[in-house]
Subunit: 244 residues, 2 copies
Amino acid sequence: MSQRIKCIVSYDGSNFYGFQKQVDKRTVQGEIEKCLSIIQKEPTKIIASGRTDAAVHAYGQVFHFDTNLTIKEENWKKAINSLLPNDIYIKEVEIAPSDFHARYSVKKKEYRYYLTTAEYDPLRRNYTSFLKQEVDIDKMREALKHFEGTHDFSSFTPQDNKIKDKVRTIYETHLNVYDQDLEFIFIGNGFLQYQVRIMMGLIIEIGLGKKEINLIDYLFEHHERFKVEYTAPPQGLYLWKVYY
Amino acid sequence: MSQRIKCIVSYDGSNFYGFQKQVDKRTVQGEIEKCLSIIQKEPTKIIASGRTDAAVHAYGQVFHFDTNLTIKEENWKKAINSLLPNDIYIKEVEIAPSDFHARYSVKKKEYRYYLTTAEYDPLRRNYTSFLKQEVDIDKMREALKHFEGTHDFSSFTPQDNKIKDKVRTIYETHLNVYDQDLEFIFIGNGFLQYQVRIMMGLIIEIGLGKKEINLIDYLFEHHERFKVEYTAPPQGLYLWKVYY
């Protein structure tokens, strides 16, 4: 009898062309499917909660796959991790109900974005975004709060994004300040491609005094993607948790 | 008139074959000399406080070079950093007295070693050493303290190390515990090749209960390198500061 397996996975996005499988490119999905296909002795596909872009990290990406093998959860974890490259790690394996779906069952997603005003540090270059100028943290916090609620995020995703419904709800946002390091938290029912990085780009520009906060409301009404000139770099972005 | 320039440099050792220049290999010295030779328009050599091995990091490596150019300290810093790859960063540039020597003027060196008992995290794989078993932290602290003082460290460096005088003094050691992360600090007048990693290897084995603390004293007296079977991995090691 076939079983559905749910996995929580963390990865360092630095050396991947993103999550989604691509021919001849090193991707997270490609590496995981390679390992599972070895264990299962047949081509195995996984379905994840969604994609992440190149250089974006994950602490709590979730995927599922189906198996006819009878292996205990802890042994699945050991078996997969023993075959994975060292920049991907399975944190949890769980035998899931057969109607569990890593993508369609998602209730909420949490992304975090890390930004620092500290001097450049080569050891953190892949894990945070560096800001050279002074920023107004109160203004950034106010800008962040403006994104809460249900809005049409068409201005915050590439214009060629083919998804029709661009309305999403952001339930919660938080900004935590640790000395010179800023942690932005976004919890929502889903996020469009590049949405967090484009929102962060605007929040940063508002913090630098280059843009005004009322531009956010304007952009919810008018779909003028070009008015957000800056997309924050991927290195600071983490898919933190997927809620089911 | 020629000026001597002192630089403090940080680097992520992950993608280097160590500090010291080698033909056809990517090294920290090689990259820095390439940049300085461009700025100076002539082949430029640097002299560092010492080498670091492949995958070892630095927050405070120091080197010097000589120049006939008249450039302000802050502009040297900008010029070099603008040419360096993003895993090396010059933190400070200082016009030094002509008798300053990055290697011979060293008074003390500080190394730090990071170890964690937390579960494997792919995002930290290059920056800390992971320990899967439980360790006795009090025993590790006691072992660490045994290394303080002036000792013959012949047992703590490869047997083919050609340096004759293997007596070194460790002035201070500290062990700081942050939740599951352990920070080991060593301050001494100098360290032999692999010395910190071999000392750490023995400290870890003592923490695991595989070796006894009195083996340290034995090894100071008897030069039996083979009795320390474990050398701690380079990823956890940082050249933290050089004191002049």
